[in-house]
């Protein structure tokens, strides 16, 4: 008995051997399909440069499970070398003192990231309140305000891609009358919020969006415009089917692909589902921005690099940062992922029409003041405020709460979490 016990303990304690050299431990939730294939490009590059990659995937809840692991690791005093963290959360971690001394800034300076990135995007990845040294690297730019529609369903019902929300409503009514589920939607909090921000940007306009959801202005949140946004949400809700609550987003996309439903409002990662099903944009399906005045909701996936004293890991961080911002990775990765490169100088010829549209729109939007960060995906606000907004939006969407009450609840929730 005792001997077995000792043997077991020794067995459990047996160390994992590893060699010296650039080393990196990456916490992420890209485990499947295109993302994993894209990540493999990076891993292979990393290995080719003599590095050792320790993979640390934790999936579930769009990174929720990974968040648990990340915090546990940081609190335990042993953070991973890099993890998938984005937007204002980067600053929050910096303020906790777990990112300094910004190991990758030297790489960023040497590679000239300031010239390779849009200044607005670049700022997101600079620590010390968006103006200090680089501490994170972007890999892509997602667009959130996409409308995905089944072309044959639209065509056979005489519907063209709507350019206003009224047109969209009219189209939905038509589909409903024809016995088709108009709006494929997964009733999960983040999906409700994704739709909400597209509606808010479209109906409220660019300045409304910035005032309300970037600056969190109370009057803006309580305004009649917000009420109108909620009204539109209520309409959209009436276009969903009863199986919607709790449905995964890709199941909803599948409904559009199969022609069971007319359209879906979802970020550009939905394209991967169409591609995997062998569908071509413009032929089998439409990818169009949701109605807005040159708006563009962006969401940048990036990796943050934590403080580490291990020279091997520091070397690994530098190598990874360099490769991540490399032209090749940015191209290959985004081809897989459906987004567009964060780096500005990547040629777009290999990308499909949707990505090209996105790439063109982001420039127009930037020029016309419509380029705004997504709050539903944690680009405009930190996690606390994101949740505060999300809770009210999802509660309204899934209940009979009036728009007026919802607008006030939204403002109250924001104030309570200030």
């Amino acid at each position: 008995m005792k001997k077995i016990l000792i043997a077991l303990i020794v067995f459990a304690l047996a160390p994992n051997f590893s060699l010296a050299g650039p080393k990196i431990e990456v916490l992420h939730w890209w485990t499947s399909g295109g993302e994993a294939a894209a990540l493999k490009v990076l891993k292979d590059d990393f290995a080719a440069n003599g590095g050792e990659w320790m993979d640390m995937p934790v999936t579930g809840g769009g990174g929720d499970a990974a968040n648990v692991t990340l915090k546990a690791r940081i609190v335990s005093g042993d953070p991973p070398s890099a993890s998938q963290i984005k937007g204002p959360t980067i600053q929050e971690y910096d303020q906790e003192g777990v990112v300094a001394p910004y190991n990758i800034d030297a790489v960023a300076q040497a590679e000239g990231w300031d010239n390779l990135l849009d200044p607005m995007i670049a700022a997101v990845h600079k620590c010390q309140n968006n103006s200090g040294p680089y501490c994170a690297a972007p890999v892509n730019i997602h667009r959130i305000d996409w409308l995905w529609a089944n072309k044959s369903v639209f065509d056979s019902n005489g519907i063209s891609v709507p350019t206003t929300w009224d047109e969209l409503n009219a189209a939905a009514e038509k589909l409903k009358a024809a016995g088709i589920i108009p709006f494929a939607h997964g009733g999960q909090a983040w999906q409700d919020a994704t739709v909400f921000e597209a509606v808010a940007l479209g109906i409220g306009g660019n300045n409304y969006y910035k005032n309300c959801y970037v600056k969190l202005d109370e009057n803006c949140l309580r305004s009649d415009t917000t009420v109108k946004v909620f009204d539109q949400m209520r309409k959209l809700q009436s276009y969903t089917d009863e199986g919607s609550p709790g449905r995964d987003w890709n199941v909803a996309t599948g409904m559009v692909i199969e022609g069971k439903a007319g359209f879906q409002i979802m970020g550009d990662w939905a394209k991967g589902e169409f591609t995997a099903a062998g569908k071509t944009p413009g032929v089998d399906y439409y990818c169009a921005s949701t109605p807005s005045n040159n708006g563009y909701l962006y969401n940048v996936d990036s990796f943050i690099f934590y403080k580490t004293n291990d020279p091997d890991k520091q070397a690994g961080q530098k190598l990874l940062a360099k490769l991540m911002m490399g032209k090749n990775f940015q191209k290959v990765f985004n081809l897989y992922k459906g987004s567009i490169p964060a780096r500005l100088d990547v040629p777009m010829d290999e990308f499909d029409s949707c990505a090209k549209t996105s790439n063109a729109d982001i420039k127009t939007a930037g020029a016309k003041g419509g380029l705004v960060p997504s709050f539903a995906h944690g680009m405009a606000q930190g996690n606390t405020m994101k949740a505060a907004l999300q809770d009210v939006i999802t509660e309204h969407f899934n209940s009979s709460m009036s728009s007026k009450d919802a607008a006030n609840a939204l403002a109250d929730s924001v104030l309570a979490n200030m």
């Binding site: 971690y93 009863e242 994101k386 899934n398």
Partner: protein
Amino acid sequence: MFKWLEKNLPKVVLAPAVGLISWFVYGFILWTLYISFTNSKILPKYELWGFGQYTKLWASRKWLIAVDNLLIFTALFLIFCIVIGIILAIFLDQKIRAEGVLRTIYLYPMALSFIVTGTAWKWILNPTLGLQKLFIDMGFENFTFDWLVNREMAIYTIVIAGVWQSAGFIMALFLAGLRSIEDEIVKAAKIDGANLFTVYWKILIPMMRPVFFTSFVVLVHISIKSYDLIVALTQGGPGISTTMPALYMTQTAFHKSQVGLSAASAMMMFMAVAAVIIPYLYSELRRENVS
């Protein structure tokens, strides 16, 4: 020294368990208590801040919903598990053919985690995929079973799945309890002319007090910790209607970067549990010591 050791050996042997639990349970509760008085956001911070998190917590609609849900869930979960458990145990106790097979069927859900069965349940309960569709396909056009996506009813679907997972275990406990009763009692009752129902209702079930105790401990512990169940089935939705404290706690700490608030909610949970469980445990232990 040696003498002391010999005299106190039992306590020394007890020490590791007590030490581990002191630190890993009570130490952590104290840590949580401290953190609940700080304004910890994304990570724990140690500057004291006051009672702010508690005011915030009780002002939060979501938390109130979570507490309500916990009460509803725990009550129904306990009642159904125990009632079904008792019924199955009694029925299985009637010299049933294929008892072994049936018992295994009732017991196996306990063996699977909800990560495993959650998807299946989600399908079954989903109106457009599961039972409702099945019955409609079979020709019952008006059949509706949409609790999962109904804000008012979704919590009950969680009860259905939760009971599915745990009722078999309660069955096992009661079956074991019944089997350990002297059969002379049953014989006496038979001669007294009691029918089967009376034998169980008036005589055997009242003798199952210890089993009720164990069931209570096991079920309350499952219900307080129910997290996987909710994540797998509804993720707290539709809207926030099926939020439960464990989910709230996890979300606030890890996804919403409000570690302090989460600690406050955890403390409320600890206190509620202590208020319910400790008097119960204590009174049961006293009974036992008396008899």
